[in-house]
Amino acid sequence: MARIELQQLHKTFGSLAAVQELGLEIAEGEFLVLLGPSGCGKTTTLNMIAGLEAPTSGRVLFDGRDVTKVLAYHRNVAMVFQSSLLYPHLSARRNIETSLRHSGLGRADRDRRIADVVRMLEIDPLLDKLPSQLSGGERQRVATAKAIVREPAAFLLDEPLSALDAALRLSLRSEIANLQKRLGTTTVLVTHDQIEAMTMGDRIAVMSNGRLEQIGTPDQIYNDPATLFVAGFLGAPPMNLIAGEVEAGCFRGIGFSLPVTAPTGPATLGVRPQDVRVVASEVQGALVARVFALEHLGRESVLIVEADKSTKLRVLVPPSFGARVGERLFLAADPERCLLFGAEGMRLPLHPAVPG
C-alpha cells in the first residue's frame, strides 16, 4: 500500500501538452478515479504513475519517496491495461506467473500466491487457455489476477471495462470495487465513463485538456462542481446550461431571470434536470418553453423543451406526466440549486457570504 503524490507534473509530446501542472495526492488505500474525455491526459497521467512514461517535469512520490526516475517494476505497482491486455501467446497460468518471475520468491511461495488469486477470482478452469480463447470478462479476471498476484503497493487500471458489453461492465464494476476494498490497496482507475467513476471511486479527479478540473468525492463532484466543464461532464441526463449575462444583481438568459449577487458580465447558469419544475402558470421569473420530446425511462421521464431555437433544456418529471410536442409550458428552477459559472468557466458564488 502506498500514498501517491504527484507534484507539478508536466508531460509534452512534441508540441502537444498532454498533462499540465498536475498536482494531486492519493491516500493510502484510496480508490481514485481519473475521469475525463478521451485525449484529456488521464492515461498519460496513469502511465507516469506507473513509470511507463517519464514526465517532462515534475515529480512522482510514493510514500514521500521520489520515484520519478525509478523504473516501472521497482515501483511495485501492478497495471491492468486497456482491453485487459495479456501476453497472447502464453496461457492464463503463464501470464499470471510472469508477474512473479522477477520477484525472487521461491517456487513454493509463488505457487501459494497463484493458488490464492486463482481461488479469489475463481479462474481455475481458465488457467490452461490462451487469452484468445477467453471471453472479455474472463480475460478481465485473468488480467486482474495477474495484477493482484504481485501484492503490489498500488493498482493502476486503464479503462479495464471499456471493451466489455454493458451487462458485464455492470457486474465487474462492483466486483472491482469490492476487491479493492477487501485488499485495501491504493488504486487508480482511468475511465471516460462517468457512471464507472461515480460508482467505484472514493474520490474522482476530473481532467480536461491535460489539466485537473476538480478532485473530490463523487458527491462533491456532482453537487458542487468547481467548473463549468465538470458540471457539464457529470450527470445523466446532463445538467442544463443556460448562457446569459449578469446585470444589476440579476442573471438574465433566454427569457428567464434569477436574482444573484455576482459581478456583472457574461455568465452561464447551470441547473440539474431534477431541480427544474413545471409550474402551472406564469410565476415570477418563470421560463416559457415548448415541448420538444418526452423520454420515458420507467422510473421517471425526461422532458426535453425548447426555450429558443438553440437552447434545449431537460427536466425530470414523474412517469405519469403527459405532454404534447409543441405544447407551451412554464418552468421554474429551484434558485437554491442553481449554479453560476463565470466567463472562464469558473464557478461563481450565487450569494457571497455576507460578512458578519
Partner: protein, 285 residues
C-alpha cells in the same frame, strides 16, 4: 452460379499456369535425350529413368540395352552451386534476421529523431531497381577483392533483403499488441522483453521474414551471374544457366531445375501456415 463458373475458370487457368511448366520439366527429367527428340513427344514417360539425376551429380547411368548416359559436363558446377547456394542463402537468412528484427522493432515501437527520414531511406532502397547498382558493385568488388567470393555475394544479397524485410516487419510489429508495457511492469528490460516475449509472440513474422530472405538469396541470379559466375564461388541458378553454353542436355537441364525448385518449395510448404497466420491474426487485443 455465374460466380462459381468464373471461379472454376480462374482456378483452371491458375493451375495450368503454375503446374504445366513443372510437369513439363518433370517429364523431361525422366526421359532420355533420344526420347525427348522423338515426335510426337510422349506426354508421360513410358519407361521413366533417373539417368539425368545421376548425370548432373557426375555419375554415369547405364540405361536398358547397355546404353550409357554419361556424366554431365556441368556436374562439378551443379554440385558446387548446390553447396554454395545453401551456404549463401542460410547466411543471408540469419544475418537478415539479426539485422531486421531489432531494426524493424525500433521503427515500429520507438520514437527517435529523423525517424521518418530514415524510414524513407529504407523505402528508397526497396524502390531502387537492383540492376542499377550492379556495375558500381562490380567495380567496387574488383578493387576490394570481393568479386568471385561468397562473402561478396552475401553482402549484395543483404543490401536487397534488409530493406525489404525491414519494411515488411515494421507493419507487422506495429500490429502486435503493446505487450512490452506488460513486460516492463513484470520487470523485464527492453532487450529482455524483446527477446523473451516479443519475438516468441512474433514467430509468424520471424518465420516469414526468414523465408523471404532465404528464397531471395536462393533465387538471386543477376548479381550471382556477374559477380561470382565462372569463379570457384557459384550459386545454383548460375550453374543451371551454364547449360546454355553446352552441348544440349535437356534432360540434365530439367533435372537441375527441379532440384533448384525443391528447397524453396519445401520451405514455402512448411511455413505457409505462418504466412496465412500473419494476415489472419490481427493481434490488436
Amino acid at each position: 452460379m455465374k460466380r462459381t463458373g468464373f471461379l472454376a475458370v480462374a482456378l483452371v487457368v491458375a493451375l495450368f499456369w503454375s503446374l504445366v511448366p513443372i510437369y513439363w520439366f518433370c517429364r523431361m527429367a525422366f526421359l532420355t535425350p533420344l526420347e525427348i527428340q522423338h515426335y510426337p513427344w510422349p506426354l508421360i514417360p513410358h519407361a521413366p529413368n533417373p539417368a539425368a539425376f545421376y548425370n548432373i551429380f557426375g555419375f554415369r547411368y547405364v540405361l536398358s540395352g547397355n546404353l550409357v548416359s554419361p556424366a554431365s559436363g556441368q556436374a562439378a558446377q551443379i554440385i558446387r552451386g548446390l553447396k554454395d547456394s545453401f551456404l549463401v542463402s542460410l547466411i543471408v537468412m540469419v544475418v537478415t534476421l539479426a539485422i531486421t528484427l531489432p531494426l524493424a522493432y525500433m521503427f515500429a515501437r520507438m520514437e527517435f529523431r529523423y525517424k521518418n527520414s530514415l524510414l524513407f531511406a529504407i523505402l528508397f532502397a526497396v524502390a531502387l531497381p537492383p540492376v542499377s547498382t550492379l556495375i558500381p558493385f562490380y567495380a567496387m568488388y574488383v578493387r576490394l577483392g570481393l568479386a568471385g567470393t561468397l562473402s561478396g555475394l552475401v553482402i549484395v544479397d543483404l543490401t536487397l533483403t534488409v530493406p525489404f524485410v525491414t519494411w515488411m516487419l515494421i507493419g507487422y510489429f506495429r500490429n502486435l499488441p503493446p505487450i512490452e508495457r506488460l513486460a516492463w511492469m513484470d520487470g523485464y528490460g527492453r532487450l529482455a522483453a524483446f527477446v523473451r516475449l516479443v519475438l516468441p509472440l512474433a514467430r509468424s513474422g520471424v518465420a516469414v521474414a526468414a523465408v523471404i530472405a532465404f528464397l531471395f538469396a536462393w533465387n538471386e541470379f543477376t548479381y550471382a551471374l556477374v559477380l561470382v559466375n565462372g569463379t570457384t564461388a557459384n550459386t545454383l541458378p548460375t550453374a543451371v544457366s551454364g547449360f546454355l553454353h553446352q552441348y544440349p542436355e535437356p534432360g540434365n537441364l530439367a533435372a537441375s531445375v527441379l532440384i533448384t525448385i525443391v528447397p524453396p518449395a519445401l520451405v514455402a510448404y512448411f511455413l505457409q501456415r505462418h504466412v496465412s497466420e500473419m494476415n489472419l491474426v490481427d493481434p490488436v487485443r
